[in-house]
Symmetry: C2
Subunit: 347 residues, 2 copies
Amino acid sequence: MRLKQISYQPIEWLGDRVRLLDQTRLPGEEVYLEIADYREMAVAIKELKVRGAPAIGVAGAYGMALGALAIKTGTIQEFRDRLQEVSRTLRSTRPTAKNLFIALDRMDAAAASGKDVTRTKAALIDEAISIHAGEAEATESLSRLGADLIESGFTILTHCNTGPLATTGYGTALGVILYAHEQGKKVRVLADETRPLLQGARLTCWELQKAGIPVTLITDSMAGHFLSKGSVDCVIVGADRIAANGDTANKIGTYTVAVLAKENGVPFYVAAPTTTIDVSLASGDEIPIEERSPDEVTGFHGVRTAPQDCQAANPAFDVTPHTYITAIITERGIIREPYQEGIGGVL
Amino acid sequence: MRLKQISYQPIEWLGDRVRLLDQTRLPGEEVYLEIADYREMAVAIKELKVRGAPAIGVAGAYGMALGALAIKTGTIQEFRDRLQEVSRTLRSTRPTAKNLFIALDRMDAAAASGKDVTRTKAALIDEAISIHAGEAEATESLSRLGADLIESGFTILTHCNTGPLATTGYGTALGVILYAHEQGKKVRVLADETRPLLQGARLTCWELQKAGIPVTLITDSMAGHFLSKGSVDCVIVGADRIAANGDTANKIGTYTVAVLAKENGVPFYVAAPTTTIDVSLASGDEIPIEERSPDEVTGFHGVRTAPQDCQAANPAFDVTPHTYITAIITERGIIREPYQEGIGGVL
């Protein structure tokens, strides 16, 4: 089954450049950028023009391909040396999502095994396209598996944005919901607006409207109220990095929803492709958490809300300990406690 | 001890009109309104130009005084009949805060016992001034009592706004913090921005800056993260209505913070004058919760964020069951479990 309603393509490889749907302009405007320089791609990732763990991985891979195409040398050693700078620049954009580093590791490996410059450039483009296809397929598979957890009539709470925009494929948490909807199940979504950057209000509501799924927007502070009222049948969120024990880093506010779900006996699911899993980290304590500019918290979209000189904190992610997670939905199966074992089994 | 740093007066009776600091314009502008008509006062309450449970009570009382002054009749019976319409209008502004109804009950009683129109008008003005003074004194007393719970070095998390602006006196939750600060204790505040109307970002940060207390603004979705990191020593919030069993209605998001505090072993205090307590309600299930316009959720400070035609929910309050509350701080003492008994004791 393929998504029927998706009329937008978040990332597209055009042979020598990348067409990118600028997510910072949604839902007001549907603006596509054409990016031909890897440094522009790094900026686009940093500024969240493209965002979502799987989409960042794909954008990073294409960034490497752009960087490779721009290197003018016939010497493979010089080519590799200069490509390392490209890799370093893309790696320094955002620290939390594992998918970016998995993608760049694959691109680095492709560069290392290339025989000459021309063939290595071609191999890098192929690898990026393959990473893109892989993430898209993985999210489709996990969406299909996850849809089994959804019953017709469910109201599903989600946080942040995890649809085609965030994944370039079906979606993770939102993919599960889209799949269940296409199976004919009647589902309804409560979408957390997801401060500070409002990916829920701006992107999740936009994607659900396009798919024809009823959605009610709430502030992040309302999720607990609706969970306590019995209005939510399950929570599904995505992930930016999952440690070996199942601890999950995801958009700031996810931990809060997980605690509230457990307190109210509501299942809490994490949906992510296996490229989000990082078994080199024993637990969530080791996941690096990106701290972003306080300006995102003291205002929104150029409108200042806090007084001048007001300090603000802005951790972009938090870590949900695995004890709050009912199941982790991956493209290779649904994992439950004990996570250490289950994660070992799908990798 | 009197607040040293308060350079602003949220509500002031000027003999025939009320001077009101327009809280919707803060922190950008410090604009004072002069209100001479009770209907304008009703609109000001409804539109949150004046807000905070104790402040709404005071504004309502002065609204009655304005309404009384405008009635041109020498007949006490006609005066009382027409005053009932004033009372009804003011009662219909906002349903959740108990203080408004306590204040209007007192004003109604003063009207009922008046002998002639002139003396009844004077008695109503006296009663409103007395309600104002009573709320101010109560918040000062509860702030003093509550400050005993605060140790030097504490980082205190708070939600919404509960300072002089919200109370016309010392404050409730913020009053406790201000008092501890004036006692020389080093305190630091983490302020939830409090979506949708951002009373935390706009008002709490402004009041704390004026008082010289270090404050860090966070989004509501970050409170859990900081509680789980051990960065918070206690949580203090205000209340809009407290039922006989201690269940507490307060700004939407309060329940969430309470659950997260309990999960992380952090004390969760509610600070409120006894005028917030409503023993006619056995539990929080009976507290009426105001539903406000979805426009407050689909946008952010005048900037539309959600797609057009996007549905949104907007309950303005939630109920925190008493089992999550470590103590309720009132002007007549600090109440702990069993709340039913403790509340009976202070009333």
